[in-house]
Symmetry: D2
Subunit: 297 residues, 4 copies
């Protein structure tokens, strides 16, 4: 049994904390939201009155917060009573600059740190099937493995500190571009009179093949399990994809890496969210292209 | 044995014609290029002095030409002495408007027509392993099947007349976007200090997975067979990808289908070709992004 | 007095025809729309039962039609009874390929041709203050000048046949990009807490200056006469800007000219029109960017 | 006479410092570059051994540094011996986040701060004709005015702290987009056979008008004073435009403002610089589009 301080009990953090508790760990938790704290109490977690109290004496501290600013504000407070040599794992998806500051600031205090953003959504958090992309030393990764396996199925050591965040945003940038690209290709196919099923069949076994088409097609009737078949409900919200695309664009600008398609996809998702579609699954981006009756050319 | 008129003996047309001859057909062929005609003669094909002579009496006419304008100029001549009910198969990759005119013009003359663009490159043409994406009636497709199987391994009936071209350009637009997207993601990953091999491993089994990454990665050292490992020689030339991206953009504009990423990829390939890289494999597009040493952020 | 055949009596064509009539010319006109024909009759124009009858015996034929296809279908009919040496002026905004076909087809029949697209909108057509961008020979331009001055104030000889269309679509592509660029800059300025009036004042006298900002700003309160101050009513409709951006993109693809920003602007206008905003003035494109309260960074 | 501490003696900082000295002020200066310090000594400025010594006792401190990181590292040192109530003017062009930190950090120490980025280039710095875009309180602006007028001709109060940087990057984003847009329009015009001079004449008085065309055209032969007529030497370097476009993109991402065209322009400038053209004037971006002989369409 490990004494764990867990900060951030939102849609993702709460089920993750519950799995740790069910695995026999003592989960001392905190969230600024009162409702989240009540829910935590009802679930048998141990709510504490402040970050300080949640962290005090914990062998491991886990954070699951909305942004880099939150992570640095919560963990950066100088007076935070970390146990000596405590192990701090940030599971939030945050910008690479804040991630670097997280490692540097806590490292200076003698703490061991990992960045470990996840994919897999709320369902994966509840089922313990998340994927963790982990950045940190080999030793830190080895030390975290058992705990992360309680919450996830696929635990990947991406590399040095920061590599977890880097892997996640690069992958998600690619996924976001792919989804818009697939939408464009399907829209054009339909306008040209091609049956989308036929296009799906051809491109899925050709050079256009990609996960966004083959496993998650944005057009209804192609992939049974895809959100497109249930009104784009559930899945991975457009506003979360926009968040990740912005993190990627931010990293690209800061690192002087030209990311034309990444920035273009970010802009289209921003317009989609501005049109009120942020809660729909990110494959709903196909709606931005308008109706697609076959055209006379 | 079928008497075949074959027009266009370039890099693709010549090996295709040779396979037909080797299968026992009589291949009466023509090309405006004298060298191509000599090569055809040496290979045992039957060069004729003009399109008229190649077409006269042929049961099947096959064209493999650079553009829609060429196809319409060659086949549209009113005096062309087609055999009654002759079967005309255009294997060129051309614009959708010319393709529609091809079907309409020859159809009015009582000819049976198919659009049947290919993928698989010069190697596939020589080995008879091309993929054919075919547009035309069920009856016409059935009638062509045996002949196409001499030249290709994967013969797909994409749908009504024009569907072959539509399938090819939609797929290739998706492939062109994907390749640039993968390049951006790999470049960013490296700038962020992530090992490209690690990124490859993660994204290949995640939502960023796509053929352009998994089977044809633009970074050396990831996919052994990919052109990236031999200086981007061979493969599918950037100038041919640019041609296909332009055909897709043209179709998108004509059919009022918004293709932002498709047009953006076309522009970057145009700049790449303008910089003298048109002959390199299309995965060389990653060179447009510049060097990618890890950056201090 | 000149006998003029006038084809196309829509929002632009009707007031243009009226001005010709008021200047003392005999305007024999035709439109497929019955209501337009009645309106023409009431206005003292001379409606004819067909294009043939409108054209027969006319010294000058003027067309004002929605697209290149219409122009070629209407004027290309072989049996059309043009007077020998008749002068045909197409004032439609059409694609460059159709424009080339217009000059070629009618030129072969011995007719004198001009492409003469306009800018200035319905108001300019009624007031006779249109701008004409004219492509054709010096002689043809000189011959048309008096007639065009009845309908417009600014008559520019852009160059050889086709130059009028080229000038219009290149200019309008630039205007469409500029309007979206100004929208982005104003949106960003506001998000950063800068007063839009102050940004307007600074950029209007700096390197960011452009007509879309200085004379037609998309933000209310900056340019009194701009459509932004009256709910984006009136002005130049977004769907017309989209039409012109598509003509430019089509010409760019056909002529192998990379137009990344032009294509991007076309896509955003397509999304804007797909969202039901096609009738609003083209400066309403700023709405695509969402609300712009100052942000905490 | 004012005692001024001046940090940063590069291409811009050195001539600015010289003008202050010539106006009778005592300029105690520092730069990490030894050559710059020798040049300063030769010019009659008063080089000091460190930032500390340059700042000690100065009534006004002026910084002209390459980036926000430099500004914060130089000015943020806690032990810096500012005179009580000293006036700190940062003339660097930096990111909006660092600019906010600059005001906050120094404000907490009781110092009066202004952000005052410039435009006008090395020539303007030497001639004292720079434009200053100033962010800060009314009182601070009034206090700085006399000093800024020694270095510039056009001193604009853009608004509250940060407004100077915001105004500069929004304007320059617009200028960068405009230059690429003008390049695309000119390239397309030429490919369509239109004389660039004629296009210049038409668009300069129409809705496509913009400073990048009318005053700084990227095609030789249109604007006599433009860098296009002297091999794109001098002017405003592409790498500086890229820097400003990145600052704008960074601010747009951080403030959740969609800037599609801004990001696209940034990517093309990045590719241009990656191709070794960073030192050429930013109007050389037209070279990315390739040669532009008229095309057969």
């Amino acid at each position: 049994m490990t004494a764990i301080g867990f900060i951030g009990l939102g849609n993702m953090g709460f089920p993750m904390a519950c799995r740790l508790k069910e695995a026999g760990h003592e989960v001392r938790c905190f969230d600024v939201n009162t409702g989240s704290m009540e829910r935590a109490h009802d679930a048998g977690l141990q709510p504490r009155a402040s970050v300080q109290e949640a962290v005090a004496g914990a062998e491991v501290v886990i954070t699951m917060l909305p942004s880099g600013r939150h992570v640095l504000e919560v963990l950066g407070a100088e007076a935070l009573p970390f146990a000596p040599g405590a192990f701090v794992i940030d599971c939030s998806t945050i910008d690479v600059e804040s991630c670097a500051a997280f490692h540097a600031t806590l490292g200076e205090r003698g703490l061991v740190t990992l960045d470990a953003p996840v994919s897999g959504g709320v369902g994966g958090a509840a089922a313990g099937t998340l994927t963790f992309m982990v950045g940190g030393t080999e030793a830190a990764f080895a030390r975290a493995l058992e705990l992360l396996r309680v919450m996830g199925k696929n635990i990947i050591h991406a590399g040095a500190p920061g590599a977890g965040q880097a892997a996640k945003i690069c992958n998600n940038m690619l996924a976001g571009i792919s989804m818009l690209a697939v939408s464009e290709a399907l829209h054009l196919a339909k306008r040209l009179g091609l049956d989308p099923k036929k296009f799906f069949e051809i491109a899925s076994t050709s050079s256009g093949q990609c996960w966004a088409l083959t496993s998650y097609a944005p057009e209804p009737g192609l992939v049974p399990a895809a959100p497109a078949n249930r009104g784009y409900e559930g899945g991975f919200a457009s506003e979360l994809m926009l968040k990740d695309l912005r993190l990627a664009e931010q990293a690209a600008v800061a690192s002087h890496s030209p990311a034309l398609l990444g920035a273009a996809a970010a802009s289209v998702y921003a317009m989609h969210c501005a049109a009120g579609k942020g809660r729909l699954d990110f494959s709903s981006i196909i709606q931005m292209l308008g109706a697609a009756q076959p055209a006379r050319i």
